[in-house]
Symmetry: C2
Subunit: 525 residues, 2 copies
Amino acid sequence: MDLHGKSLIGFTEAAAGETRFKALNPATGEALPGEFVKATEEQIARAVDLACSAAAVLRGVSGKNRGAMLRGVADSIEASGEEIVQRAHRESALTLDRLRGELTRTTNQLRMFASVCEEGSWVNARIDTLQPDRKPLPRPDLRSMLRPVGPVVVFGASNFPLAFSVAGGDTASAWAAGNPVLVKAHPAHPGTSELVGRAITEALLKSGAPDGTFSLLFDDGVAVGRSLVKHPAVRAVGFTGSQRAGRALMDLAAERPEPIPVFAEMSSTNPVFVLPEALRERGGVIAASLVTSFTLGVGQFCTKPGLVFVENGLQGDSFVGKVGDSASKLITSTLLTSGIAAAYHSGLEKRRAEIRLLAGGAAAEGCGANAAVFETDRNALSEELVEELFGPAVLIVRCSGLEEMLDFACKMPGQLTATLHGTEADLRDASPLVEVLQGKVGRVIFNGFPTGVEVSHAMVHGGTYPATSDPRFTSVGTLAIDRFARPVCFQSFPDEGLPGELKDANPLNILRLVDGKSTRERIAR
Amino acid sequence: MDLHGKSLIGFTEAAAGETRFKALNPATGEALPGEFVKATEEQIARAVDLACSAAAVLRGVSGKNRGAMLRGVADSIEASGEEIVQRAHRESALTLDRLRGELTRTTNQLRMFASVCEEGSWVNARIDTLQPDRKPLPRPDLRSMLRPVGPVVVFGASNFPLAFSVAGGDTASAWAAGNPVLVKAHPAHPGTSELVGRAITEALLKSGAPDGTFSLLFDDGVAVGRSLVKHPAVRAVGFTGSQRAGRALMDLAAERPEPIPVFAEMSSTNPVFVLPEALRERGGVIAASLVTSFTLGVGQFCTKPGLVFVENGLQGDSFVGKVGDSASKLITSTLLTSGIAAAYHSGLEKRRAEIRLLAGGAAAEGCGANAAVFETDRNALSEELVEELFGPAVLIVRCSGLEEMLDFACKMPGQLTATLHGTEADLRDASPLVEVLQGKVGRVIFNGFPTGVEVSHAMVHGGTYPATSDPRFTSVGTLAIDRFARPVCFQSFPDEGLPGELKDANPLNILRLVDGKSTRERIAR
């Protein structure tokens, strides 16, 4: 398919604008086919207007039909799957296998959210029935449920060109809740974005979705994103990326005449604590798995384990040695963009000046990157060293034992995840540590690795600031839908005037909280 | 009981500070007994430190024991009930009957939240069981639930000295979720605050709650509140009050190095739409009930109906005439504070200069206030006239019919409530209006009045900005607990290491989402 490079303003290709940019192949540095046109202010305004009209229609679309719409999008993306994956490979240097897996994750995710809105109980329907004889006053009939918030802006992420991008989790969950979505394409993979966007548009047209349900806007700078976030009709923002960019969006949204929520998933070093018995019993296995985890996707996962706490002593030395050995055997990989590569290399330089480089970390051409293993003591662990270094680097922190691990956990900034490797006895001893970690992270992992974020009901891809902007939510898993909905209560409405979810007969057969009891029963009145 | 006037820093009465203030009786202008001491920065720091220690303990307290703690507080407040009500009457000029009702509401609310945490299912426990044979990778065991956020700051509201103040809904819901609470007492009713605070402290000591579960801080200015909101260990803020003060807190919280959520319930004019058939059939009854509603509590409810839309024509004229007649017969009442009285009277002056004063609105001495009924046309309805005027005033807006009502709804700012009076046929005709209102308000009322906010499961006391800071939440009803909790996921934990809510056997017998199905069944593994 030839790339036209135009923003999609609802179902319409935008007329040409003046500023253009091209995608680069990070593996070769060469420009890829296709010229992408920065969206104009007029196009942004038009896209938001369409989204507002679509919002009014989508509010009335049943969960079943929203589900069908999401499934249609998934099918359409699959139909163009190989073309999308090939382009994503050239734009990201991620392997074809990884990208095929990510495509499946993306379409599965759309279908999972389809199931959620088809089943319907996610709206948290609550009914308090009329009590006409209550003293001193009757209790009115009250019925509440979650309703869509309105137009949602989503920023595509560089490191997941499919699963956290145009048709990723933010888009899927915002649609599932009944909202139109405006996506700002990530400039590192505009071709992938266009292909996915066109697949979406085709599916939406087929399913009869209103114009404005989806728009895709290009920009290789920050102006389009800023305009979208500042637009008075926009109601929420989803973002995955750096702490700097995420905080800028949070500030922008908070300064609006009418502030709106920004769900930013930002940075995390995902500390791993190797507990003593596990270190003794299977330190070698943990070391090998650690290397696989921190170099997965060239270390460009938000859940990359970047800090590993290991005791002083011979067992710890042996663990560290194994991590270093196995990391030093890895071949050079390619990072997503030249910006990421520059940040990675300057990060390595800074660390090298401060602490011990144990293995790897050799310079590389262009966007190339070599894995790097650093080591330091708990006492030498500065705040800067705790910050995320995006790319295949890990820092092993040697410490005297559990007390120092606990001390670090108490002081560390918010994280998406924390991991413990231990025996069951280790875990008992570490219960104060688990307690503290729970207060800061979204997910605590026992004997596993944080990379590989399951898309399911119980997943929490969240955590306290600066891991995310709002620790009360997750950006992965079915709970992510809650970000884009708000409760509305109907008082003393006749059955006829109520949404299906709240009608006496419970025609959608959803689970509801009726006078405080969870039930699918109908209401007698 | 003699009032000592000191802040309560955990279980300890604060040592004296330098700045003191007294409470005034708004009915007489006289200073009331008791001298209250502004909390010092040291005392604030100590209170937050205690709250942090308490948070670590409270996280581990069972829902049953948290429930018992809340019930103890309710009992203790009831035991001092008459003394509290008498003092509140002198500090607020609200009637004894109203305050007795409010006290019951407050203790019922504490017991309702006790039931919620005793029952336990509010934590939204979710379990995705291990799938060892899934391809391409096994699915790990994932279990998530809501956990407390940490220290919460609550600002007492002037207009509900009990139900939205020291032991009000914000405090009760934050405790129920397992958080310590720091209350900034409202300077208009410090004596009431002290009495309630001492009743709380007594109950907490009896129930063995940790020191720091509750602190009460005095200030007749804004410094103490600002310091609390800026303190790095504070995790969330609950506020009920003016839009100006609420927005200032939102901005302060957003500017922190680590931003935190502010749940501010601010201002609302709560539009009422009188639809044509209802106007013809029972305009007189609606007019009489409207006067009761907008003058209830001297018009000092956040849900006071401040704007009423009525058709042009004779039926509408008759409605307006009845509202005016019955309002003009009301006697002078007393507003809560001299500041509120000054704002009310300057608001009346401004309106009088712009639009027609239909009835009432005579000047009054001190904090006195007379009900006022204004009338204008849809075309003359400026943005300023749509803003809340706190006190017993109503503005009737004459319009040509449904189209103009809809047009207003599309343009109006966010509101806590909107009300329709109509027959079932009216409601059918007004369905586009209901649709638009749902997008802006927290509660839509049919054939009732917005004053009288039920404390129940289905209540939503929310709405879009500027009615509240965050439309995804409610500050009244059991759902209010969600403001002060965040999800945490445990991956591959052994049963022993999991909280009771997530253990295989479901020892707390709560409702959980297991592999997507809601159930109380145990997990086999």
